[in-house]
Structures are given as C-alpha cells and as structure tokens.
Amino acid sequence: MAEVQEIPATPTMVMCGDAFAFPQCTELTVGPGLRYIKNTVNCTKPGVLRATNKSVWIDRNSKRYVPVVEERVIGIVAGRIGEDCRVDVGAAHYAMLNGVAFEGATQRNKPDLKIGSLVFAKVIAANKDVEPELSCVNKNGKSNGLQVLEGGHLISCSLGLCRKLRQPTTPLTAPLIAHFKLFELVVGMNGRVWIHSDSVKHTLCISMYLGRCEYLPEEELMPLLKDIVKRVESSA
C-alpha cells in the first residue's frame, strides 16, 4: 500500500482515488470532490487539490449542477403544486419554491409565477434524498437581490465560468463594463447567467462574449469583445 502523504500546501493536480492523510489535531472542512474515510482524505474527482488553513477542496470545472445549501441559483418555473412551484435548476430533480417566499409577500399578495418565468433564488435545503428547496428571502424577510427576473436573456455556461464571474475582482467583466453603458448580469451557481441590457444587440454581444471568454487569457478579452461587437453591428 502506497504511503499516504500529507495534504500539499501548494495547489497540485490529483486523480480519483488519491489519498492524503488528514492532519492531526486540526479542524478542517473537507470540501467538494473529497471524501473523509478512516482519517484520510480521498479524492473522488480529478482536478486541482487546493488547501487553506480551514478547508481543503478539489477545484474543477464541470457542467452538471448538484444543489448545495446557501448557493444562489437561477431557476425556471416548470409547474405548480398547490402553493409551491416546481423549479428547474438544472439538477437531477426539480426544486420546490414556496409561492410566499418573497419579500413582502402574503397569501393575498404574492408574485404571479407563470410557467417559464425565471427566478433568482437561494437554495435553503439540499439533501441528496429529497428535492432541493429554494427561497427568495432570508431569515429576516429581506430578499437581498433574490427575485423574479423579468425580460432579459438566459444563457447556459459551465459551473467554473459562473464561479469566476461571481468573484468581485474578475477580469472577465472588465471589457463589458468598459464597453456597454447599461447592462445587468445575474449569475447563478447552477451554470446559468441572465443578461439584461438596453438593446437586443447589446444582449447578443454580451451573451456571445460570455460563451467564448472562459478560457482566454486576460489580454485577449477586450479584442474578443471588439470583434464580436463589430460582427454584430455589421450583420444588422
């Protein structure tokens, strides 16, 4: 049996089945892509193993979303069961969203969720055995940006791109901010991005840009956007 190493301090590439010794006398959160078995941390997905003082996880891009509590996702309403809505979040099962789980909503005064409408909601329950549950309010009854999304355009992308876009210091959105005066992006952790801007052409440019920007280095992002804008303007 190969000797089990310590968790490396610098990011390293790991394969499924690689095992690392769990450090003694510390509290460490074992994150996605890892299993804790008999005092060792086993990798269940290939990727880059990253560790901080408090947690260790596997960094990996993928497309299929698995609901996790506290994540904000964009869902598409697929039906109603009584007071609840069935919402498609791109996972294996539909999620349930209570019709009254919106800021300021009561039984008599609640948003009209038609089939096909988009909702930006937070996952409040995500057990593997049951349907996940969503909500558009926090414990204090405040929405903090969670709401029904009207108009706009929804695109699908990989989970890695969504995580990158959600970082405040990402270079991916800098060209968009420099070029377009008025636009709105809502990024769900489930691989969906909602784009809303003042014209259809701008929305088209932004969605084409987001589809292609993921693997490009920073210096190629602005030329990509300029190229897309030129092509959309000339084809109109």
Binding site: P11, M15, R60
Partner: protein, 194 residues
Amino acid sequence: SSGINAEYGDIRLNREDPEKAVVEATVRSATGHGTPLDKMYEEAVRRVCEEVILTTDHPRTSFQVIVQIEDNAGSVLSVIMNALCLALMDAAVPMKGMFGAVACVQTEDGTLQWDPTTDEEAGGQCSYLFVYSGQDMIYSHCTGQFSVDQYMLVLQKGRQVAVDLWAFFREAFEKLLKKDVKFQMLLNPKSKLR
C-alpha cells in the same frame, strides 16, 4: 480500435432506486444492428460503472453512459473501458478511483501478447481481460483454457500495465486542465497565485 464515450449524469429516472443511482449503458458497434456481443459489453460497462461511481451520493437518479465503437481492430472491450474512465473523469462524476483495462492473449507456446489485434485474438489459445481499480481487479473476462498459475501471472503483470495506463490518464487530464488559464496559473510553480 477506437471509440467515443459520452456520459450524462445525474438525470431523473422513472424507475428510481431510493438508495443509489442507477447506471444505464448503451454500446453501439461501428456497423450493423445490435448483437449479443454489444449486450455483453453493455453489461460489462454497467457493472464497472456501478462498482466505481459513488452511486449512493446520488439516490433516485441515473447515470447514462453511451459508447460508440468507431473501429474494431481487436481488444475492443479494453478500449471501451479505458475511454469510459476518461469520459467519467471529464464529466466530473464522483468515483472511488480510476480504473483501467488490460487485454492479453496467450499463444500456444506461452508468450503473452498485450493489446492483441483481431488476428492475434483469433490465433491465441486463451485471452484475458482485466479491469483494475486501485489495488483490486474489479472486472474480468477470460476465454480459453489456462491454469490457475497462468491466470495469476497475467493478473499480476496486467496490474503493472494498468499503472502505466494511469500515468497516461494523468498526463492527458493535465493537458485538459491547462487549457483553462486559471488552472495554468494555479499549477505553474512560478505563479504568484500559489
């Protein structure tokens, strides 16, 4: 031999298993209608997947695996299995470990031919196919007459071949990861991000 593997998971299924995910496999050969051999390959793929994928983490769902054999020039099942491992890794399906298939044919005079072509398969006295995962062998398909000692010898040698296979998977996966600028920076020893 070559093939294309695709994996779709985890998806909703009508016939749910409340305790774990169900693996559905489809194998299509390059030409012709489905034969019993394709069914046997499907069963092999399904069994290996159920062994390796962490199905209990995704109850009431299904992982669908689709294999299209493009070209059959011998040792097809081992090619399918290895491509399957790469497909599951690419799809980020949670697995207990990597697995690798090794095919071997033993001729009349006892020499072992690894990854046999169709002719070598036809001419051999017995053939072995072993799928290894970690320290264990998780699937085997052997035909012909052989002794227990011969079997154990091939089993042992085959595992060393599997280890080389896994080194290749590692290299291939690293190339895939490094297409992304973020991982390039993370894995680069001189980068500031580390």
